[in-house]
Symmetry: C2
Subunit: 333 residues, 2 copies
């Protein structure tokens, strides 16, 4: 059973994933790479290589048969599991709970060779609908307090399979980095009676120096204090604390803007590896006035070294205004 | 002039290093690699390839001549600079200050081919004395609130030159990750009237499951909530908030324990890239009862992917008790 352990100094939680336990020799081997579609567990016809599906959008066929357009399955090597009781246990100084939660994979397309940015807009929209449906289902389990959706694209970003996919992790705690955003946003709201993300959207739309893309419902910006070169945030213009509450018109527009932002990044940085994460509000909370869901897109083009680990302090070699210039001017291929 | 910018949501500071400004094409080139000693700016005889030295321990020769054993120079491409006034400036929502600070390089040995772990114990001790001397000098500048010393070993850990060296960055702010440790340690102290690190040392020395090495003055442990596989902390047994206040006997013992811990890691993980960071108290503060300096050693053997960036939540595939078993049992080569 995986464990969630709390650092006694900072209060940071860590998943100790005992079920994937790795001994020293395991780190020398490169992750098993599937070359091409023949052995890929995410390709149509190989549905039985994954655990049974949780959701699919399909043209034909029944569950776990080909004919799907988007497919969600449990992760075969989950960092957390749904089964069991949520037990908490202290041990002297230390505090842990068992690793209750969920770890799922969203296979974004049946086509092995396509990247997310190359998919049809309609297809990308269905990926976001799948995220939404999984959140609505998982939040019924009141033990699960936070659901994180993220995508690792390319080996440098941590992807071990090349077939385009995202992941979802549902957690019994609100993770520290999200809690910091929630707390900071709350302080801003208490002081100014406005959502800090709404303020950022207004400021950036007026200033324009850090705007990469504007659409009816979204602003894509390189944030003022970007941690990474070419870091891009996709922020809804209208206030909404929970992604899963977004309206249909917003969801449709989201597919367009995410695809366009990644395409611009591909063009400027020549198809880099990247991480994309969605930050939304804790799923058991009602609508929040002070927090605003958004997506963070981080190309993996330089290494994070000791300085950043030690301090939580980042050195970004590219001013966000310059990054935005390059991204804004890149056409959409 | 580099800028320090504050994220309006979380309060996290970022250095926007305009003097190293990188355009998209710069990221495609691999960092210029010095192959061998012939062109290395850190090798004896090449002293004029670095800015003039700030400190050296030497057998013969004057400043900036060969004959040194350890040498400290300003970073040629500094992320921060000592010159100028510390100006603060708001801009609507946003807040920045100019990048006042220092960025120095500690060349640990004249021998190009040696790693830190391969140096003589006496030599490693002098490296720590050099750290101490630079801190004592820099803290006279009252604008500098925090001094971080770190080492990137190997390209995967972000090192761009292979000649063994560490770096020092002096900052006009206390960085967020350190502030979190200070705050967490303060909460623990307020509640229990004991230093949390002292409590960890006591607990671990009794429990032994996570102890890698024990010496007269130090404990090397794999922390209970290790973020990374084989993460190791080196913690002084006796309470001391500031590294620069450590006694001579502690400094001597530190050289031995750091060298031994890295050698064990080299043996178990086959000479991995690693980051090493020293966490100490803010330099303008007097002795603190609640905080305890220590060193964190992190082998770079797996990639940090979207999940970790998005949440500040880590998945560690190797339980620290197992990592400690491997490290404890590895002999010292």
């Amino acid at each position: 059973m995986p464990e969630l352990r709390k650092d006694p100094v900072t209060g940071r939680w860590v998943i100790i994933a005992t079920e994937r336990a790795r001994r020293p020799m395991d780190f020398h081997r490169e992750p098993v790479k599937i070359q091409g579609a023949r052995l890929c567990p995410f390709c149509p016809g190989h549905e039985l290589k994954t655990p049974p599906e949780l959701l699919s959008f399909r043209d034909t066929g029944g569950a776990n048969a080909p004919g799907w357009r988007v497919r969600v399955v449990p992760n075969k090597f989950p960092a957390l599991r749904v089964e069991g009781q949520l037990d908490r246990e202290g041990e002297g100084l230390y505090y842990k709970m068992n690793g209750i939660g969920a770890h799922e994979v969203i296979v974004e397309s049946p086509v092995h060779e396509s990247t997310l940015a190359e998919l049809q807009e309609k297809n990308v929209e269905e990926v976001f609908w799948a995220f939404r449906e999984r959140i609505l289902d998982l939040r019924k389990d009141r033990r699960l307090r936070y659901i994180l959706i993220f995508k690792n694209h390319g080996e440098l970003a941590g992807a071990s399979l090349e077939h385009t996919h995202s992941q979802l992790i549902a957690l019994p705690v609100v993770p520290k980095r999200v809690q910091e955003e929630l707390d900071g946003a709350k302080r801003h709201f208490d002081y100014r009676e406005r959502c800090v993300f709404c303020d950022i959207v207004k400021h950036e739309a007026r200033d324009m120096r850090r705007v990469v893309l504007e659409t009816e419902h979204f602003l894509a910006i390189t944030p003022y204090a970007s941690r990474f070169a070419f870091e891009t945030w996709i922020v809804p213009r209208r206030h909404e604390s929970h992604f899963e509450n977004a309206e249909s018109s917003v969801m449709r527009n989201l597919a367009w803007v995410v695809r366009a932002a990644v395409r611009k990044m591909d063009r400027v940085l020549e198809w880099p590896a990247y991480n994309m994460v969605m930050h939304s509000s804790p799923v058991q909370e009602g609508p929040l006035e002070h927090y605003h869901w958004h997506i963070e897109l981080i190309p993996k083009i330089s290494k994070v070294a000791g300085f950043e680990w030690g301090t939580g302090f980042y050195i970004n070699p590219t001013p966000p205004e310059e990054a935005a210039d390059f991204l804004r001017e890149a056409g959409l291929p």
